[in-house]
């Protein structure tokens, strides 16, 4: 074991103020599994060293994977997926997954793969009621981005992240570092930042494609989920009143809003509402109140997050003497969407359905 990189790693990760917490987790109660011999070899030649993994290796023998019954699948069409520029090989289905961000957790829950999750991190809000029983037992690794050590302490073989930036050296670890340890990594494709990978305009087929990819990697059947998604989508009543909306994500003196090519735009298109910032070629973007007032949106979509609640947003709108005069603010024409449902994922169709229903209830005098 090399002393210098180790102390450096511990030194960086040890500061509590980096906001990472390890909850008293069930993973310490689980049998710590020894990775298979080929992975031991890979680990031994890697640069990064983690004490817990070393301890785990020395203590136990191989254990069988726990988790759901893998469905026998036909030979995969491709042997690897190009995910945001990193190749994700399709080999045996992952058995121990760490999910970062709600979209990842919920994707797996939707595909019935909840039992494969050995740790979640950076969750954006509670899961929908239909999964709360499954989700209750999921170990929480961190409130925010977990450190690499924390991720590795759960001994995953797959890390599924909602943002590309989760995979940084001071975050969960770079994707190449994890690969060197034999851990595959995957980023929600709609969140890719590079121009070649970012959807030029997010559509439901992009979300379907992600469902396909995940199902392929995990070797499960996605037809039920896809059918449900399409059915929900078909049932969304598009509004015909020619309304406009501001997608207010966060901020006070400078509003941060849903722009033209991401999930907010997709949802607004689906419910038949024009995005006042729809011409901005970004997923979300900083904006300015003057433009909001000039556009005078008919409704305002408030993203409800724990760090920026809908009440706080309403207060911001009402305290600003200029925005207080907006029709939407004076008449409380707000539509509320929980943050976890506002990023591209399996809940996007649900968010569209919910917002359409809220919109139906709004009357315009």
């Amino acid at each position: 074991m090399e002393a210098t990189p180790f102390t450096g790693l511990v030194g960086v990760q040890a500061f509590p103020f980096l906001g990472r917490q390890v909850a008293p987790s069930d993973c310490s109660a689980d049998t710590l599994m020894q990775p298979c011999p080929s992975e031991v070899f890979v680990f031994a030649v890697s640069r990064t060293v983690v004490v817990l993994s070393v301890a785990a290796l020395s203590l136990t023998g191989c254990a069988a994977g726990s988790g759901g019954t893998p469905t026998p699948t036909p030979t995969p069409a491709a042997s690897a997926i190009d995910n945001c520029g990193v190749s994700v090989p399709i080999t045996s289905p992952p058995q121990r997954v760490v999910t970062i961000k709600s979209t990842s957790t919920e994707m797996l829950l939707a595909l019935g793969l909840g039992d494969r999750i050995v740790g979640t991190a950076f969750q954006d809000g509670p899961v929908p009621a239909r999964w709360s029983a499954d989700a209750a037992s999921l170990p929480v690794l961190a409130d925010k981005v977990p450190s690499q050590e924390v991720v590795l302490s759960a001994t995953p073989d797959f890390v599924y992240a909602g943002w590309e930036s989760n995979f940084s050296a001071d975050g969960a670890g770079t994707r190449s570092d994890l690969a060197a340890l034999g851990i595959r990594s995957y980023v929600s494709p709609s969140a890719c930042k590079e121009a070649a990978y970012q959807p030029s305009k997010l559509s439901f087929s992009d979300i379907d494609a992600e469902i396909n990819q995940v199902a392929e990697i995990f070797s499960v059947d996605d037809s039920t989920l896809l059918a449900n998604q399409h059915a929900t989508l078909a049932g969304v009543a598009k509004d015909t009143r020619g309304l406009s909306a501001l997608w207010f994500s966060s901020g006070s003196s400078v509003p941060y809003i849903g722009a033209g090519i991401g999930a907010p735009q997709l949802i607004l298109d689906t419910i038949g509402v024009r995005n006042i910032a729809g011409d901005i070629k970004d997923t979300w973007a900083p904006y300015n109140w003057e433009s909001v007032i000039a556009a005078n949106p008919d409704v305002i979509v408030l993203v409800d997050a724990s760090w920026s609640t809908k009440e706080k947003k309403i207060k911001v709108l009402e305290d600003n003497p200029a925005t207080a005069k907006l029709d939407a603010v004076k008449n409380h024409r707000y539509l509320v969407v929980p943050f976890a449902a506002s990023e591209a994922g399996v809940r996007t169709v649900d968010a569209a359905e919910d917002l359409a229903q809220q919109l139906k209830a709004q009357t315009f005098g």
């Binding site: 103020f17 980096l18 906001g19 925010k144 994500s249 966060s250 901020g251 006070s252 003196s253 400078v254 941060y256 910032a277 901005i280 979300w284 973007a285 900083p286 904006y287 300015n288 109140w289 003057e290 433009s291 007032i293 000039a294 005078n296 997050a305 760090w307 920026s308 600003n320 003497p321 200029a322 005069k325 907006l326």
Partner: protein, 329 residues
Amino acid sequence: MLWFIVLSVVLITSVTVAVTIGPATITAPDVWGSIVHHLGLGANPLSPLRDSIVWELRLPRVLTAGAVGAGLAISGVVMQAITRNPLADPYLLGLSSGASLGAVAVLLLGSALLLPVAAFLGAALALALTLLLAGMFGRITPSRTVLAGIAVSALAAAITSLIIFWTVTGDSYREILGWLLGSLAGARWPEAGIACSAILVAGIPIMFSGRTLDAFAFGDTSAATLGVNVQRTRWIMLTVTALLTGAMVSVSGSIGFVGLVLPHAVRLIVGPRHRLLLPLSALVGASFLIWADTAARTFFDPRELPVGIVTAIIGAPVFAVLLARRVRS
């Protein structure tokens, strides 16, 4: 005297033009018509909503920019005179770091105080700490004060970074970054009121201390023999400058380079005598920041840059040029 008139005209022109510029399309006559209406003369040519763009957003922001620019410029002049250090700026005594800490406490920890109040308290606390530290080892001298200020700034910055890392999530980074870089995006009438009051209360008296500041040119002993009460003057000047800077920073964050570079630029044009330098720096500072902020809010329309970025982009090369000229002369 001529300069005074020219620069005053420039300032007034800047205000009237800057108010007509913005992402929303409102014609200049309509803008002025709206303002005139609010001053009690004439009907309002704009709908209430568009009128609020002019009267609630643009005008207070432009006025705040002017007041902050003037305040930072004259604070810079005073600091450079009192510390006899051409690299001094208004933030030297821990003021901006302390204010940032106060702002972060409100923005990220959800303290119940109003942002300007918290920022001002932070600045005041940092100043008190700086003076305490400077006085701990004997007489308070300018160099000791500067060093103490650096230490306190570093401490406040470290605590601020700590809080940011501990609490920040997603896009609340944006909010605090905007504040740290200096931004006028949140400037409404209360902020304009604070900034303009600060200029009147603190700035005007400073304006009249020109000859006294001149006396410091050759140091404390010189100033004393020229009849200046060195200790008392220094204390008063520092306190008033701190109040002025604290008020400005509480309203707009730490906008950099205005206090550092503008005094030098104005000195190049009108010379180092403070009786001229102070009021002219105020005028130039006001116009400069009005235009910098106009650029910041329109260059990347509809996105906004924090104005501190614009002042840094302009200020850094200008400072380099000024430095080169000093070396050559």
